[in-house]
């Protein structure tokens, strides 16, 4: 089985760009990815593209071929939709086809426009990732669904808003100096606790912002990299996907995310590693509680123990397991279709040494990317490793 190398990465600034089209954003991200890769566009055999709310935000479906054009690629193109995990679903398909020898060069990425919808419109668009009949009609929003999980966690295992605030403070701290991040300013625990409530117990600073942005990766087979003298020192060595009941109410445990357990287990086995081998992680912290649930499900903490991790300093840049050195969704931003491949782009730069926080993981060789859809009814985990020459 051939190894899948990341030849180049490109990510736009995440933030407010309501005047820019999706094709413009993805064009920028793929330009940067090709420049970084030193791979010819004409060698690309397919585009796998993640996007969630294009019909609502842009009145644009069939975005695969549109985005191939935007990227300057003449190749078959398919859009993948798996809510906020869309571009990781695209990545998984590409990893599998490169490994099985179907293709040698694939462009993978995603983009999302959100800010043009406004807060109410974006809230409505995000809510379609929940079950329309059993959840949305009862008034469940996306923050509301995670709030239901957070309250269940507090009641089941303990912990409080103050613990969650430390997650937000940590991730904002990590984003300082990350010029692509939506927020690059520090916040305090009091800022988080005193912010307006969105869906209690979650407030505005427990929530990721509504962002526009795009990301792209140029993946190549090991053989292609060698034959074409492409410098590609980072590889995707493991891929896993898990699923769960669509509606929260149908799950046995309201404060656990078994789809993450399944995805992580498969990704670890695929890469031949365990959680103890992981040096740092990018997790899907759309809300502060989501980071806690992810760390527990990926085997870094026992159930009920993860909520104090940020407060104890274990997941900060200086901690034993730095989590979300990019700033995470919380501070980097969450243009949903772009998020999964942006996580992998950040990990690639952290491993190569060209990320603002690379020094925090100078000896690290193994990163993990965790990307979830809905209330983790979909989950993808990828293992990203520095290739030992």
């Amino acid at each position: 089985m051939t190894e899948v190398r990341i030849a180049g990465v490109g990510v736009t600034e995440f933030g407010n760009a309501p005047e820019r089209t999706g094709r413009d954003l993805f064009g920028d991200a793929s330009d940067d990815a090709f420049a970084d890769a030193g791979v010819s566009r004409s060698d690309v055999e397919s585009l796998r593209y993640g996007n969630f709310m294009g019909e609502l935000a842009e009145r644009q479906g069939h975005q695969g071929p549109l985005m191939a054009e935007a990227a300057g690629v003449r190749a078959p193109a398919t859009r993948y939709e798996s809510a906020c995990a869309s571009s990781s679903a695209a990545l998984r398909s590409a990893v599998r086809d490169v490994r099985n020898g179907e293709e040698d060069v694939v462009l993978v990425g995603g983009a999302e426009r959100m800010t043009n919808l406004g807060t109410a419109g974006a809230t409505e668009a995000l809510a379609i990732a929940a079950d329309e009949l059993w959840e949305v009609r009862q008034g469940v929003t996306f923050p509301g669904a995670y709030a239901l999980m957070a309250q269940a966690y507090f009641d089941e295992y303990g912990g409080d808003r103050d613990d969650l605030a430390h997650v937000a403070v940590k991730n904002h701290e990590h984003a300082i100096g990350n010029e692509l991040a939506h927020y690059q300013d520090p916040i305090s625990v009091d800022d988080v606790l005193e912010a307006p409530p969105v869906s209690e117990p979650l407030g505005l600073y427990d929530s990721c912002p509504i962002s526009d942005g795009a990301s792209a990766l140029v993946l190549v087979s090991e053989a292609y990299a060698e034959a074409n003298d492409v410098d590609a020192p980072v590889a995707v060595t493991g891929s896993g996907q898990g699923g769960d009941d669509m509606a929260l109410q149908d799950r046995e445990y309201l404060a656990r995310t078994p789809a993450t357990n399944s995805a992580a287990k498969e990704a670890y086995e695929d890469a031949g590693i365990g959680p103890g081998d992981v040096d740092f992680v990018e997790v899907h912290d759309c809300f502060t509680i989501a980071e806690v649930l992810a760390l527990e499900s990926m085997g870094f903490y026992e159930t009920g123990e993860g909520i104090g991790a940020a407060r104890r300093g274990e997941t900060t840049a200086e901690g034993d397991l730095p989590v979300n050195l990019s700033g995470g969704l919380k501070a980097k931003g969450h243009p949903v279709g772009a998020t999964g491949t942006a996580q992998v782009a950040e990990i690639t730069k952290l491993l190569r040494g060209d990320h603002v926080n690379s020094d925090a993981v100078a000896d690290g060789t193994v990163g993990l990317a965790h990307n979830a859809g809905g209330t983790v009814a979909s989950c993808l985990v990828h293992v990203v490793e520095e290739v030992v020459a």
């Binding site: 807060t119 059993w134 009609r137 239901l148 869906s199 979650l202 309201l254």
Partner: protein, 131 residues
């Protein structure tokens, strides 16, 4: 006005809400005694395809809850409102807790299932009353 913005009527779900409105809520029970809510072709636990409508217990128990302040446009005039998940025997149902002081909410609180209407759209929704 149809509850569904597309005008569709989901037989499994809408029949269930009609039944709740009549005070005759039910769940689906398979031969092995697993419970689920409609629409289902098979039991999600064991795959059994013989599903029987079984009366829901009158008393439910609050499992988790949230007070939502930032709503979609469909609930903009309902805020703040309480959304909750309550268990009724072997199944759990999501609804709005309409007549409760948010300060007094707690897990385990007894509730009963009913229907209510959105103040914003007048669309029907599943609701809980404290019991």
């Amino acid at each position: 006005m149809s509850a569904d913005p597309t005008g569709a009527r989901d037989e499994g779900f809408d029949d269930f809400v009609d039944a709740v409105a009549e005070g005759e809520g039910y769940y689906l029970e398979c031969d092995s005694g697993h419970g689920s809510v409609p629409p289902r072709r098979v039991c999600p636990d064991c795959g059994g395809s013989d599903l029987t409508e079984t009366p829901l217990p009158d008393a439910g128990e609050l499992r988790t809850y949230t007070v939502t302040h930032v709503a979609t446009p469909s609930f903009s005039e309902d805020t703040p409102y309480v959304t909750a998940i309550a268990s009724f025997g072997p199944v759990r149902i999501t609804g709005q807790l309409r007549e409760a002081d948010p300060e007094e909410l707690e897990r385990g609180m007894p509730v009963e299932l009913t229907t209510a209407r959105s103040a914003t759209t007048d669309r029907r929704l599943l609701a809980f009353d404290p019991r």
